[in-house]
Structures are given as C-alpha cells and as structure tokens.
C-alpha cells in the first residue's frame, strides 16, 4: 500500500490518498466480528435478558405478567424442585463417569492403535448423529424392554441386584428406572466425550511413550504418568461437554424414565409448555445455569488444566 502512495503523484494530494485505505484496514477485524456479535446479541443476550425479567414477574396468563422484582420465585422454585435438581446432577454425573469409562479406552484405541482404520472408526463414532436423537432414544425403549434379552442377561448376571441395591433399578425391570435414564444419557452423549478425548490423545507425541519406556516406566506407569496427564485437557472438555447438556436434558427421562426419574429439564419443560408458569420456569432455568457455572468453575480450578501446555 505504501509503495502506491510513495510513487509518482505530487506531494499535496498524497496524504489524502493515504488515509482511506488505512482506515478501512483498521476496521476490517470489526466488520468480520460483526456477524458473530449480532448472532450472540439476538440469540443469546436478548433471550437471556428477557428470561431474567420473566423470572421476576408476577401475574397470571389471563391478566398478563408484570415485573414486580419478585425474587422469592427463585427460592420457591428451589424449594419445590430440589429433588429434581439433585437427580439431574446425579444422573448427569453418573452418565459422565460412564461416558469417560467407556469413551477413554475407545479414544485411546483410535488415537494410538487404529492405524489405517482410524477414519472408519471415527465415522462409526459419529454415525449415530445421522439419525434423529428421538428415534435413537426410542430405540432404547426396545433394547431395555421388560423381559427382553438385555434385561434378562443383566438379571441372570446379577447386575440388577446390584443396581437394585443402589436404587438405580426396581425389581426385574430396567425401563422407567434411573438406570434406563442414565443409559440413555450415556449413549446419547458418548460422542461428545470421545471426540475431545481423541483430539487430545492424538496430539500426544508417540515418542513420549518411547521416552517413558526408555526411562524404566512400564506401559501402565507410562499411561499413569505421561499419557493420562497429557490427555487432561480432553478429559476436562469431554466431561464438560457431556455433563452440561446431560444435566439439562429432559428427553431421556421423558422417554425412558417415569415420574420418579424426573430431572430439572422435565420440570422446566412442563412449566413452560404445559403449566404455562413462565416465571417459575425462567427462575429454574437461571438456577440450573448458575449451578452448572459454579460446578464447572470449581471443576476446572481443581483439575488445573490451565497449567497444561
């Protein structure tokens, strides 16, 4: 650009010719940011403000709602629905742990052992996304059907007596129990665990494994001291990507559970769409958001991932 202005034209018009391109250049980043900012404004900030105001309104559907700064709605909501809150955290937590237990070995295999099958296995991991979330969850109704082969096998292996003792199942059935909901959540959110785990494992330099072996670490020690610590960013983002949506989920509980397995998502859904008590529903949404934010902050602090390269 400067070469253009330095060249032939007389001295006087030169500064004028110099300015416009520079100014445009300085603004370019903002123009590029604009779509994103607009998107966030319209689809995130505005609804959030709207919900915040709804949560402190009083009134009824017939008379209309008014902002009365009725903060007691939060307390009332928490008081009335704390079991569902607790259940959400428990179910989502169990599903996250299960996802980690199932997903880590798979991600490890894909990253280090799959060789030329790597892409194929990755496609298989993502393949369920090609069908509807609802249909996949409904399929679990058939899988876990009473007297079906899965439940029969679990029963004869005495798995069900363990889960009965844990309060996860009830008698000889799985459907409509907490276990069914946790199974559904685990299944539906597993790819969200595998993908970040895979990404962080795949980034680990294979020579670090060789170096650890060279320095007297057995394969197990190599995993404990090198591989796992280096995959922590993946573990953290995987658990967050699983836990956060799972704790707000209501479809799995709705389709696979019963009234005794209602999660906070079910309550919000019914408050909004059936009972039409908007302030309570909005207050519950904010409570859920706050709870998740607090838990996530504590979790990230504890796992100390900001320290990792």
């Amino acid at each position: 650009m400067s070469t253009l202005t330095e060249a032939p034209p007389p001295l006087a018009p030169a500064p004028a010719a110099e300015r416009p391109p520079r100014r445009r250049g300085r603004r370019t980043p903002y123009w590029l940011l604009l779509p994103g900012i607009l998107w966030l404004l319209v689809f995130f900030a505005l609804p959030l403000v709207y919900q915040a105001s709804t949560s402190v309104q009083t009134g009824s559907l017939e008379e209309g709602y008014k902002v009365t700064w009725h903060f007691a709605a939060y307390w009332d909501a928490l008081h009335a629905y704390w079991p569902q809150f607790l259940r959400s955290v428990l179910y989502a937590g169990s599903a996250t742990v299960l996802c980690l237990v199932l997903g880590y070995p798979l991600a490890y295999l894909i990253a280090f052992r799959a060789g030329r099958w790597r892409n194929l296995v990755m496609i298989l991991v993502v393949a369920p996304f090609f069908t509807s979330f609802l249909i996949r969850t409904l399929a679990w109704k058939t899988i876990l059907a009473d007297g079906g082969p899965v439940v029969g096998a679990l029963d004869s292996l005495h798995v069900l007596s363990v889960t009965n003792w844990l309060g996860m199942t009830d008698g000889h059935r799985v459907l409509a129990t907490p276990l069914a909901v946790v199974c559904g959540l685990t299944y539906n959110f597993l790819p969200f665990m595998i993908l970040p785990l895979y990404t962080s494992l795949e980034r680990i330099d294979g020579r670090l494994h060789e170096a650890a072996g060279d320095l007297y670490a057995t394969p197990l020690t190599t995993f404990r001291r090198v591989t796992f610590p280096l995959s922590m960013p993946g573990v953290v983002s995987g658990t967050l990507l699983t836990f956060i949506p799972a704790s707000g989920d209501y479809v799995n509980s709705e389709l696979l559970g019963s009234t005794n397995t209602q999660m906070i998502g079910n309550v919000i859904q019914s408050q909004f769409l059936r009972i039409l008590d908007y302030p309570t529903a909005a207050a519950l949404s904010f409570l859920l958001m706050a709870a998740i934010l607090i838990m996530v902050t504590l979790y990230i602090r504890r796992s100390g991932t900001e320290d990792l390269v």
Binding site: D205, L208, E210, A212, G213, D214, L215, Y216, A217, L230
Partner: protein, 399 residues
C-alpha cells in the same frame, strides 16, 4: 559423578562390558532396513554411527534401545543378552532426536523421571548434581517449552545420564540446533562423556560431528557398515568410494596398474604416471587391472605451469587449468580441469598466495605419493557424493 553411587543398572547386570551386536538385522516386509551386521562397541568409548538418512543407523540404535525388535541376531550388553527385553528393563537410555521431554513435567521432574520409576525416593541431590553438570541448575522449576533448544537438549542428556546407563544412545541429538550451538554442544557432550565415562553411541548424518566427537566411527550405507575405525583412519584410508566421498571430499581418478615395484604401486591415469603405497590400496593389484586412485584436496599443492621445474622430484603430478577459485578465509578452494579428472578439487592454505592462480591459469597439481590411496574400481566413483544422494532420491546430503 561416577563416584556418587554404584548404579542400579550396574548392580542389576553384575558385570560391565561392551555392547555386542551379533548378526543383527531388521526387515520391514520386503524392505531390509539393516542387513545382518556384527558390531562391538567397547566399554567407555564414544562410538558414532554415521550415514545418510535411511541408511539404517537409527534402526540399529533403536534395536539397542529395545524400541525396535530385531528380525535376526542378538544384542548383548556385557554378559547380558537383552535382545528380547522391553526397553524399560534395559540398562540403556536414549537421548531422542526431538528430545521428547515430558511437556507436563518441569525440568526437575523430567530429570528425576527415571530415578522415580526405579523406586528411588531421595532424588533431590542427584537431580541437582546432574542439572549442575549440564549447567541448568537455575532452570529446575521451568517447563520444557520455556527453555531454548540448546537447553532442552541438555535436559534430555541429563534425563538419560542420571540413570547411569550402561550405554547412552544419542539419536541425532544436535540435529535441531543451529550451527554455532551445535559446535558448542559437540564439545559439551564430549566433555560430559569424558567426565562420566559411560559408553556413548551417537547416531548422526553429519560427518564433521562424528569425526569431532567419536573415538570410533562406523560409516553405514544402505543398511550395511561400510567401514569402521578411528576418524583419522577412516579419513586417511577409506576402503570404499562411499567412505572416501562421504567423509570429506576425495578426488578419484580411474587408472590402470602399470607395475608393482617394492612397496609402491605404479599406475597410469591418462598420460600421467602416479605412484601410491601398496599398503594403501584396498583393491587387488594385478598388473593391467583397473584401480581408482584417490587423493584428498588438502594434500595437493598447486604450482603455476611456468614454475613446473621447481617441483621436487618424486611427487605425483597432474596438469590442468583452474576453472574456479573460491576464497573461504582459511583456505582457497580451487577446481581444476585436468585430462584425468574434469573437476579436480584442491584446497590451498592461504599462506603465500600466488596471484597468478586465477581461473584460466595453467597449473601443475602435485602431491606426496604417500598421500595417495587406491580403491576397487568396481565401485561407482560417485557413491556417497551429493550427486549420488540426489540420484538415489535421498534429499539429505552429507554436507
């Protein structure tokens, strides 16, 4: 350093000793990376495996480390056979090409890694001493990515050496450093090796590096050891054209054996008659047979053709015309077009420069016959040169 502890490695294997490779080879499918070879690395020596990329030197090193399973043969460390031991059971440590430092551990923990794995509790003193040896005592609590390349390199050396291995394996450890730092680290590594007295096996493609550091150099080419010996011996008495060209530069002329007189061999190259010691000819010396005659560029003196009669008798002479002269400070490198060799290289020390020696000048090249060597003419005279490497599709040249 050596006096601080009797090392666990030594205790485990009982006696100390040499690294012995017997008939060791490696094939990947139909590709032979290393042809079965025998190699003995004497205890306490600084041994270099030198060769272009893909010659099998790293594979050989990895088989000693246990990172690669040999297809045939055995590996002995002293009296102990380790051929099928996994790496974590071998009293051997490696300095990896890219250092492979653990990014999540600080320098102290990186260096302490091997000690901790062997269940040693009080590592502080040993790690401190080791970091002092490599002059990194101040950096103990930094993460690897906060260090420079040269510092990371020293951490990698410290991390391996602290275990007092029977053998320290170095896989192109200086490849990622710039020239000046590389020179400095070469001396540093040599100093450390002398200080700790551990056997070093060093893999490199840099002939200068191998010659500066090692007591013994094994030149590898296409999965075979071409020649093995002290650097001076390899340089002065190459036995193959590959070694002659890969280590430094050689002028090789095709000649015909004329006669054998006593200790000398008289050969004819074109119109020139050259003499070389019979002991320095590794080719069969039958009269009338072909032989490759070699001489190093720095052994040759250059005299202007007008002063040809001042050259003492008994020297080998070749006439030619200078085609280029490159001044590089300590010496001037001439290329001379002569009837026996189209690009005869001559390195002349810049002591008394004859101003007439410019491109186009007619000159006589002459050298002491004792500095001439003979090679088997059945080999390609280009083996090991940059042109050869390019023709073979291997981009990394030796120089």
């Amino acid at each position: 350093m050596t006096t601080t502890t009797t090392t666990a490695a030594t205790r485990r294997t009982g006696e100390r000793g040499d690294v012995r490779l017997t008939g060791i080879g490696k094939t990947y499918g139909s590709f032979t990376a290393v042809h079965p070879l025998d190699l003995t690395v004497p205890e306490g020596s600084f041994f270099a495996l030198l060769g272009a990329s893909g010659c099998g030197k790293t594979t050989t090193l990895r088989m000693i480390a246990g990172l690669e399973e040999p297809s045939s043969g055995t590996v002995h460390l002293g009296e102990q056979e380790v051929t099928h031991l996994p790496p974590y059971k071998r009293p051997v440590n490696t300095v990896f090409q890219s250092y492979a430092l653990f990014p999540h551990l600080d320098i102290f923990e990186n260096v302490a890694f091997g000690l901790r794995r062997r269940g040693i509790r009080s590592v502080k003193k040993q790690v401190g001493e080791m970091l002092d040896l490599v002059q990194l005592g101040e950096q103990a609590r930094k993460k690897p990515h906060q260090l420079s390349g040269g510092q990371q390199q020293r951490v990698a050396v410290a991390r391996a050496l602290i275990n007092h291995p029977k053998v320290l394996l170095l896989d192109e450890p200086l490849g990622a450093l710039d020239l000046k730092l590389r020179r400095q680290m070469q001396l540093e590594l040599k100093r450390i090796q002398t200080e700790v007295g551990i056997t070093f096996v060093h893999v490199t493609h840099d002939q200068e590096e191998a010659m500066t550091m090692a007591d013994t150099v094994a030149v590898m080419n296409a999965g075979r050891v071409e020649q093995l010996g002290p650097p001076t011996d390899l340089y002065e008495n190459p036995r193959t054209t590959f070694v002659a060209n890969f280590l430094g530069t050689s002028n090789l002329l095709t000649a015909r054996t004329d006669s054998v007189t006593g200790e000398d061999l008289v050969v004819e190259a074109g119109a020139c008659t050259l003499v070389l010691p019979r002991a320095r000819c590794s080719a069969p010396t039958t009269t009338g047979g072909e032989v490759l005659v070699g001489v190093r560029p720095e052994k040759i003196s250059l005299t202007h053709a007008e002063d040809a009669d001042t050259i003492p008798d008994g020297r080998n002479r070749v006439t030619g015309r200078i085609t280029s002269a490159g001044f590089i400070g300590v010496s001037t490198q001439y290329v001379v077009d002569s009837p026996v060799c189209p690009d005869f290289e001559v390195y002349a020390q810049n002591i008394d420069r004859d101003p007439r020696l410019v491109p186009g000048a007619e000159v006589v090249l002459h050298w002491n016959p004792a500095h001439t060597f003979g090679l088997d003419a059945a080999q390609s005279p280009l083996a090991g040169t940059a042109e050869d490497a390019a023709a073979g599709g291997e981009g990394t040249g030796a120089r």
